[in-house]
Structures are given as C-alpha cells and as structure tokens.
Symmetry: C2
Subunit: 362 residues, 2 copies
C-alpha cells in the first residue's frame, strides 16, 4: 500500500525488518543476539533512584555529558571524542547522513548487517558491496579506490568472523580521506577493539551498543568514539533531528551499567565459554560452524536443509534466525543463550537430525 | 569549524539550539515550558516494576503496541491511527521526511517553533513563512496554493495563541492533497484538539508530546494521530531509521502516565489557574500579554527593554526565554511554574521595573 500523501522518497523506501520479537514467553529465544543474563544490578538499581524520578519532569541533558564522561573514562579518550544516541541504530543513521552522503558509493561487505542498504536508501546514498571470501573473510584490498567511505561490523554479522586490527589499519590507510566506520556491536565477546587506533586515525569512527554485552537491548543506547571533528559532525546532525535523543533514564542507567566493569567481564566470560562449548557440540553434530568472536554462531547443518531445521526447531519452541539470502540460506544464526538453553537446543538438533536421517534412509 | 570528512549536506546544517538546561539547581527555571509538578505517581511507580527490569535485556516491542493502544483508547481512535516516537521532535522529523519532501515549499508561520526550518534544511525541503498578524494571529487564507504541506503548532509557540478548530478545518480544505500537521504540544492547557477531525480528514496529522502536560520531558515521548495511511508512512520512515526508537522503560512509564486521566486533568487545571492569575498580574505591571492557551505566556514589558529585563531576572536567579528575533525581541516567553515561583517572578519584575524607572527619572 502507498498513499498519495507520501513523499516520493517515502514511497520508495523498503524498511529494515528486525528479528521477530514473539509475544509467547515460553519460547527459547536465540534469534536476536540478546544477552541471556539480566543487566548489572547497579544499572537496575539506578531505575529506582528518587533523584532520577524527580528529574523526569525536566528535559534531560541534551549532550548526555555524564554518560559521555563515563564512556570516555572506560575507553581512555576525551569526552569530546564520544557521541551517544538512542541505540546504535540511531548512531549509524546519523553516521550515514554525516559522512557518507557523497557522489561516490559507500563500501560494505555483501554479507553484513542488513540495515546498511536501508540507510543508503533513506539518505539517497549509492553503495557497492565487495563479496566476502568463501570462508566469509574480508579482503581489505577490495575496499580501495573512489568511495564515499567504508562501513563494516567487526566481528561481522551474521558471520561472527573477526577482522584483525592490522587489517583495520590497512583499511584506514586505503581510505585516508573518507570515514571508515567500524561497528563493534559484538566486540566485547573476545574481539580486539579498534578504539586504540582512534587517536592515530582521523578517519576512524568506532560504534558500540549496550544492547549485547551490557544486556540492555530494552534501553536503547549506543555510542560512537572518534576524533573530535567526527563527533562534532554527529552532534550537528543530531541537533538537526532531535535535540534530546537519550532520555534521562537511559543516561543514568547506561552510566551505571558502563561503570560496572566487573559485571561486564564476568558476563562476557560466561557467554564466551558457552559459545565455545556450543561450537564444539555443533561440530560434533556435523555442523560447519564459522569461527565466531560474537555472542552468536553461524552454523550450517551437515545433513539437512537449514530452512527445514529452522522450522523443526521452531515447532519445538526454539527460535533461531534463518536468513533467506544468497550464500547464507543454508546456515542458521544461533544466539548464545544460557547453558541450559543451549543444552535444549543441542538436544533438539540431535533429535531432529536423527529423525530426518531415519526418514531419509527409509 | 568544519571537517573534510563531513558530507556536503552536514557541512551546511545549522542545528537547532534548544533552551538552556542550566546545571545550577537554584535557578527558578521558566525557560523551556516544563511542567512545574512531578509526573503521575502511577507513571513513577512503573519504573520500579520487577517485570520491567527483567525485560530490559530484551529488545523492546518495535511497534510499542501497548502504548499505542492506551493512546488510541484515550483519543477514541483505532490503534493503527497512532504512531509513537522518541519525543515529538523525532515524530516531527519523520513527518517532514514522510510528507513534506516535495517540489513545492512547505508552509508555516513566520513566528513559530524554530526547529521547523532546521528539519527543512536536514531534508532539503523548501519553505515559505506567511507572516502572523500584528496580534500574532494566523490568517488561514495565507496557506492556500501550491505547497508541499502545512505545519503549525496549535496553540502556536512561542506566542501561545490558539487557532480555532473552524480555521483548522478550513486549512484542511485549502490543502486537500497535502498533509496538514497540527503540532499540539500545548493543547492540554485549555485548547481545542483537532483529533476529533482525524476521521473526516485524510490529510490531518495531529502531533502530541508527553513533555508538557504529562510532566515527562525527561522521558522523551511523543506521538501522532492520523488516518492509517499516514501512520503507515511514518512507520516506514521509522523502520528505515531506527527499528526500536522507544525504549522499554518509556513504553511502560508512558502508558501508565496516559492512563492516569485524573492526574492530567488536575495538573492542567492548576497550571491554567496559575497562568490566568499571572496574566492578570503582568498586565497590572504594564506588560502586554498575548492571550495564551499554553503553559507559558509571551509578554512585552511596558517600560523597559525585554533583553534588559531578561538579564536582570537572570541576575536574580530567574531564567525566562528571550528570543533575539525580529518581531518578538521585545517580548519574554515565561513558562508557568508553581504559584510560589510565579510570585517570586512577579516580585522580581516589580523591583527591577521600579529601579529602572527611578534610574531613568534621575
């Protein structure tokens, strides 16, 4: 359906479709890479602070200064090297507008976060998508030449593969006049962050979220770290769109969550341990598992169609993600849940695969 | 400062400048039209709900369905006639993109919310600004002819003047093929809402906020009411920008706030009573006060420069708003605070004006 009241630009948009958020509470939900554990108790305690309640009638700090300071301290950068937004999706949208609206195409991998082409459409940005290798690795030299910039998640999604920091540095040198945005949504699960490169590279912007490793997807907080001239650009775009994108509750709770380093470390260690044991178990079940530094694995069942396995898992109340897209339609992306949830997943896979093999043999 | 990394569009933006949010707690803050009273206790109670805390690790409902239902019930419309966003500023931004990016100019009054021309710049929209009358009234016939659409606040800001519903209907008939957006940020303080016209007019979009009459500026919640085809347009733009703009906390607290009708009624009655008595008192002090249906008054001191009075009030710890713009630079916009705060404002005005008169006589 369209409407004559829609602007021509709106009429042409094909919006992003997020992973399903089912209403049924009984599902084992392994489809949108949420953290299986509750957030830091210090973060939750902030919600009941009477001072926060008293402040709600007032506009929040439009610059989220306190939250920016906590993030800056965490990464050992200056406060004017941090920009916060209403989820990393908003930070990404402002990044596309601020740096990638140019006459050349933006470059990102052919298999990656599927919101990127949607932002391009929203802001009328041309793009080119160099193909990942057969093992889903990125070849940095594909990102040379005339371009509006480069964006890629590291680790990449939905593959989980990490690009080493040397490759990121080479990328930065290949595009010295353009912004290279590294979307580190999953970096805390064992990856090497590019934040340490920010001071040496004026074209590097690192984007983070509190949705995954901080277990705060419901709070909508993301941020960017880069040199001050890039952060100022994001602020100007933000101040032309919505002066107060981060509400007072999110500013307070987010600051408390980031300050609780110990919680983060312990949480990530748990998720990593589960991921590594699940990888082993899936491999033993004949899956081909892409090496992951994220809180999910991309895995290809050895003996049955991925789409069929997805459907059978769903029938048993286990929700994973199946992308009906070229090159990855024989894979499932499985978020890392608790050990109990993953044991249930593995047991279900075992049964489904056995049943399938029996029916095939017959 | 600009940067070679900025896109050409970004380099040309002149961002909106929100009213000051001073750090000093002792100021009597009458500059950004916040509610002087705390929000509904039911809204605040929702913040401490353990179910809300448990849900925070998960993404929120991208459609904010429950909140939309509560808003729909409140206005007696269908749920698919409601769109919610991260503050009405975000709803406005999506409105500009969705409906006003056309070859003709958008129309809005010359004296109005100063974010409108900023959105136009952000999305490359041409605009024309018919002049308000000498008494700051809107002449509807100025909004006829080729246009991308019409937007105006009702009551208008920063004048506080209301446009009667008959005039809104005439506007809707003058632009039957274009969206007419009525920004009702201040409508609860005694104005007549256009929501009752939505079912008869496919081109009407009414925009609301919880920042003023619900005393939740810190929570960032706004919404739009219109026919389903307009709401679907806003959703498509939203889903191309940020799938989850309203966090789980805001969805819950906002729903509780809107459901508490009785709190809203009592709160607005208090603010209206204070506004009316302040209007009388200012008039007695020789101010010319524009008739207001909002939670602020625009008032012109009779015997001294508005800018000078602003500075003197600030020196005494009272912050009001002075716009250094043609036609209104001899006025102050004064938000309605508590009766105690307004008594202090009036007392300060009395003293400053008396001192000024004495020094002028000498």
């Amino acid at each position: 359906m369209s409407s004559p009241f829609w602007s021509p630009a709106l009429a042409q948009l094909e919006p992003y479709v997020p992973g399903e958020q089912p209403r049924a509470q009984r599902l084992i939900k392994l489809n949108t890479n949420e953290n299986p554990y509750p957030p830091s108790p210090q973060a939750l305690a902030a919600l009941s602070d009477p001072a926060l309640h008293r402040a709600l009638r007032r506009y929040p700090d439009p610059e989220s200064s306190e939250l920016c300071s906590v993030i800056a301290a965490q990464h050992n950068v200056a406060t004017n090297q941090v920009f916060v937004g209403n989820g990393s999706d908003e930070v990404l949208a402002h990044t596309f507008y601020s740096f990638f609206r140019r006459d050349q195409p933006l470059l990102f991998p052919d298999i990656t976060y599927s919101f990127y082409p949607v932002y391009c459409q929203l802001y009328d940005i041309d793009f080119r998508t160099p193909a990942l290798g057969a093992d889903f690795s990125i070849s940095v030299q594909d990102y040379a030449g005339e371009a509006a910039g480069v964006i890629l998640p590291n680790p990449n999604a939905p593959t989980g593969r990490q690009l080493p920091l040397e490759d990121i540095e080479q990328l930065l040198r290949l595009q010295p006049e353009r912004v290279v945005a590294v979307d580190e949504a999953y970096i805390d699960f064992g990856g090497d962050s590019a934040v340490c490169l920010v001071d040496r590279h004026p074209n590097l912007l690192v984007i983070r979220t509190l949705s995954k490793s901080h277990a705060l997807a419901g709070l909508r907080l993301g941020y960017a770290v880069g040199q001050a001239h890039l952060i100022e650009g994001l602020q100007r775009t933000k101040n032309s769109f919505n002066s107060y994108p981060v509400d007072g509750v999110a500013q307070r709770v987010g600051a408390a969550a980031i300050a609780d380093h110990r919680w983060l470390e312990e949480n990530c260690a748990k998720v990593i341990a589960t991921r590594d044991s699940v990888t082993e178990a899936l491999t033993a079940l004949d899956f081909e598992v892409v090496p992951s530094k994220a809180n999910f694995v991309l895995a290809r069942p050895g003996t049955m169609e991925a789409g069929q396995l997805y459907t059978e898992l769903r029938r048993r109340g286990i929700l994973v993600r199946h992308f009906n897209r070229a090159r990855i339609n024989q894979y499932l992306r499985i978020s890392i849940g608790t050990d109990t949830e993953m044991a249930q997943l593995l047991e279900a896979c075992r049964e489904i695969i056995a049943t399938h093999q029996n029916s095939t043999v017959r």
